[in-house]
Amino acid sequence: MRVREQAAAWAFITPGVAVIGLFGVAPIVWSAILSFQRNNLFSSASPFVGVSNYRQMLHDPIVAQSIEHTLVYAALFVPGTMLVGLVLAVAMNRKIRFISVYRTAAYATMAISTISEALVFIWLFDPSYGIVNYLFSKVGVPQQQFLNSPSEALYVIVIMTIWGWTGFAVVVYLAALQGIPQVLTEAAAIDGASHWTRFRRITVPLLSPASLFLVVWLTINALQLFDEVYLSTQGGPLNSTTVLVYYLYQQAFGGQGNFNFGYASAIAYFLFVIILIVTAVQFRAGRRLVHYRS
């Protein structure tokens, strides 16, 4: 590429990159340094301790549990949200009556505050007074303990967060669906392709850049789950909903780890490596599977 093109490209990215570099990259490098310190937030001394925070992490049983919970959560949340989002977006991508009501209902899930969302779901899934157990009793399903059960609480949080992210997935898929030229599907219809074939052969491939975007973005967010846990179960019962970011927050500010910010940073860096690997794999797979119109 010519020098002028190079210069033009850098001119395009420099303003944005400057902001992201100063407020995104620099703090990350900074906290990387902290992860090699015993950095008690209460005292001024922060001696370097080498990799001891990382070594401590390997022997911390709750870190192991948190990793498991984080991965299980992401593995359910990401496909769940995408599926719900895709189905609703396809349903909403047409001119039928009340369509703006439907769309607004979906978008609205993004706007509600997490505290309201958490309170409603706590109620819906209350073992004694919740609507879900009431419906279960009507159809003969045994009563569940939900948030009181170490084996069920995480799934309630999965459902709660899928609800909260539905609007996001719908918005992204709707925008992508509307970018698909109707001529393509109409031409296929004239050729006699069924709805399902057209959806599978034309729509899904043309949606693949949006799908890649959603996979990456939802995974990045899922692996950093915090708000919903903080506002509902606080990691319980019996650590069954303790995910990595909740745990590191507890380590830094909740006192479980003597307020060692260095240790919290080390856990964050471990999580960073997980996210980086998962994202890299997704991009690599995306390069093979995603259809770009260029």
Binding site: S113, T185, L248
Partner: protein
């Protein structure tokens, strides 16, 4: 994909008097809006009703006094103005800066593009809970040494760190790549500059993506809590989420006021969605025409 094709499908034996998609969308919508019903109901209840469990969805009588009461409890006009300034400025600067960067990443193969993109993406992968202290110190330094309006305890501190986001760059890069490249190449052959191509060809085709990004950025800014909590030390500089938190006391929460405030805080976001949605629809035709 048009709904009308269902009706003209040959061999259809029966027809519903309405589109069958309603059968999916009505129950889905009920589930989606349920928390809002609760939110609205609580906002017009008496405190005694709001302290009931299971919650009451149909209050005995509508008590709208929670709304003026919530507004008087704190300088909400000021919070609203602060939130609006922060959100609008953040949206505008994101649209400008992220389109430019996203376009370069989508269409140029320049030296260091891969590395820069990965670097930008990494900022999404470290939780804010550990970067907030460094970010605070950097912001404080900027305020003291460069420009006081972007330092701690100024609303500029709520704008600048989010003036361009990795999310926006990534989002637009993905969408620019879905656009047909032929028009851009044709314009380039005609001697148009890269900037002209971006402005005259790429951005007009990106209506849905830009309006989506605008709506999402607005939302993020409007609901942002942790950073304003850390960066603002004065009531007159608070944004709405900080103001709403004042209803959640250490020992008791004023639920009716909190929910009335929440409903009011939702209104601008819903307005933005309505506006963005109209734009989505309009751009369908534009993109459809572009395909022919």
């Amino acid at each position: 994909m048009a709904a009308s094709t269902i009706a003209i499908r040959p061999g259809a034996r029966w027809r519903l008097p309405f589109s069958p998609w309603h059968l999916l969308l009505v129950p889905a919508t009920i589930v989606l809006i349920f928390p809002f019903v609760w939110l609205l109901a609580t906002s017009v209840e008496t405190p005694a009703e709001a302290l009931h469990f299971p919650p009451i969805l149909l209050p005995h009588h509508l008590d709208f006094s929670n709304y003026p009461q919530a507004l008087q409890a704190a300088p909400f006009g000021r919070f609203f103005l602060n939130s609006a300034i922060v959100a609008v400025t953040t949206v505008v600067s994101n649209l400008v800066l992220c389109s430019a960067a996203g376009y370069a990443f989508a269409r140029y193969r320049f030296l260091g593009s891969g590395l820069m993109f990965v670097l930008i993406m990494t900022t999404l992968m470290v939780p804010f809970q550990v970067t907030m202290i460094p970010q605070y110190i950097i912001t404080k330094w900027l305020g003291t040494n460069v420009l006081s309006a972007v330092g701690i305890n100024h609303i500029g501190a709520l704008i600048v760190p989010n003036a361009a986001t990795a999310f926006g760059v990534f989002f637009l890069r993905q969408f620019f790549r879905t656009l047909p490249i032929e028009y851009e190449e044709a314009a380039r052959v005609d001697g148009a500059s890269r900037l002209t191509v971006l402005w005259r060809i790429v951005l007009p085709l990106s209506g849905p993506a830009l309006s989506t990004l605008a709506a999402l950025t607005f939302l993020d800014s409007w609901n942002n809590f942790l950073w304003p909590l850390i960066a603002i030390n004065q009531t007159s500089k608070m944004t709405l989420p900080l103001g709403l938190a004042t209803f959640q006391g250490a020992h008791s929460t004023e639920w009716t006021l909190l929910m009335a405030g929440n409903v009011m805080s939702l209104i601008p976001m819903m307005v933005i969605f309505f506006a963005a949605q109209r734009y989505f629809v309009r751009s369908v035709t534009a993109t459809g025409l572009a395909g022919t």
